[in-house]
Amino acid sequence: MTVPIKVFGALEDRQIRFRELHGKDGSEVAHVLVGSDGAQVPRERVAKGFEVAPDEYVLMTNDEIKAADAPARKAIELEDFVPADQIDPIYYDKPYHLAPQKGAEEGYALLVAALEKAGRVGIGRVVLRAREQLVSVRPVDGALRMQVMRFSGELVPAKVMDVEEPKKPPAEREIKMAATLVDSLCTEWDPDEHEDEYRERVMEVVKQKEAGEEIEIAEPEKAEASDDLMAALEASLKATKSGSGSKKKKGKK
């Protein structure tokens, strides 16, 4: 079964992009490649090298690198189908949208409907930019979404972090109060409620600076660790109750 598709990036870059400049004269900065003697090496002489021994490089062309993951077919090869709710979200990496090519609409619609009905996510492999990736394919809003999956070896296990246990563990009463505080702050997930306010504020700073205003640098307050957990929890609970969780929804038109 094959469904010819087209792949579209699912992300929109909204980050404010700054240009790297030389602070002294505001001049633009060029990136060049230099050898140990500091002399510039022209781009056409630059190759990709893999260090096999100290200072010994094996040079590889792009075509040679491509030969490592050369697929027989230009396709997302689905191997397995797994229940969608079994996948821990930590495995999901970069998302893409898939759309049918002309003439493949029926096959595409069938795959969307069948995955929805079966409650499954397809797991397969595809070569993207000369690298074989593990991907998932799932139906969302009547379309197929592909997400690159992290391999299990790419994840750092918790034990590497080597976190100690506290000498005096938190008391049952403290845990209960903290859980009550968590409960009181529970709400439904709505991605539209969260805006990147920082972007706007950065643009304000840019405008101020352009107008010649001085930017005051505030010394950030250092938050202290809470010594008395019980007191901090009690005060937090009191604060959420008096606020009665009304901070949500307000400000929405």
């Binding site: 060049v32 797994v82 700073v205």
Partner: protein
């Protein structure tokens, strides 16, 4: 122990936990260096001031944003940029908790570990308290903070006994599917086809086991590098075959089912 990306404080109500942020992924890919093909020497990137034609060190750099009249740049230092939201560069403020399964994984970006830091038992206790309060609930704490001049929405939950943080995309950073050339209603599958397709999917269903999928990239690339080192030629790969749409969905489904059964 790897290096922390950020240090600050996780704030939950009036409880503050001093924490450090570590990437929860490790890049195991083979990477190439830029090498001079004539001398075989490794090259490094050098920044050159275009006006002076002289090298510029990293700490001499500032950020430039095009002036509104298009003539030159407004210059900003990192301190000035961080000042847009100074409190957010030091504190991850938890604003709410949401059911984890309600969050579409398209919003998740990079995973990190949050680890307690600081003197004495206090930070460890406060950290442990949060872990204990959250561990039995399939909930994620939602907050925001600024890391290297970008604001991140984050979700924090308990994984393997520690606080696991994942940076998230804002809603306007995810493209909706509205603009895609999607099938029309007329392409709705026939019931018989749908039943066969579901049967095929069920036939090929397994439980999710991330250890089942091996990353074969490095091994293959290492082999080629080794061949090249020994002086062998590596052939450029031939163009992959481009599969076409199947003319008869029902026939293709039935053939696939036969094949799946045979290999099961």
């Amino acid at each position: 122990m790897p290096r922390s990306m950020w240090r600050g404080s996780l704030s939950f109500g009036l409880v503050n936990v001093p924490v450090a942020l570590f990437s929860a992924t490790r890049d195991q890919d083979i990477h190439f260096n830029q090498v001079d093909s004539e001398t075989g020497e490794r090259l490094r990137v050098q920044r050159i001031c275009k006006q002076e034609d002289k090298p510029v060190e990293y700490d001499e750099l500032v950020s430039g944003y095009p002036k509104s009249d298009g003539d030159g740049y407004v210059l900003l230092t990192d301190d000035e940029l961080a000042n847009a939201a100074p409190e957010k560069t030091r504190t991850i403020d938890i604003s709410e908790f949401v059911p984890l399964d309600e969050v579409d994984p398209i919003f998740f970006d990079h995973p990190y570990w949050l680890v307690p830091v600081g003197e004495g038992d206090g930070p460890l206790r406060a950290y442990k308290l949060l872990v204990e309060a959250m561990k039995d609930q399939e909930r994620a704490a939602i907050g925001k903070f600024v890391l290297r001049t970008k604001e991140y929405l984050v979700a924090i939950r308990v994984r393997e006994g520690l606080l696991s943080l994942v940076t998230m995309r804002f809603a306007d950073e995810v493209r909706p599917v509205d603009d895609l050339p999607l099938p029309e209603k007329a392409d709705k599958p026939k019931k018989k086809e749908l039943d066969e397709a579901v049967r095929l999917i069920e036939q090929l269903s397994v439980d999710w086991d991330p250890g089942r999928y091996e990353d074969r990239h490095n091994e293959r690339l290492e082999k080629l590098i080794d061949q090249k080192r020994k002086g062998k030629t590596i052939k450029a790969p031939s163009e992959p075959e481009v599969p076409e749409a199947v003319p008869d969905l029902m026939a293709a489904l039935q053939a696939s089912l036969e094949e799946a059964k045979a290999s099961a």
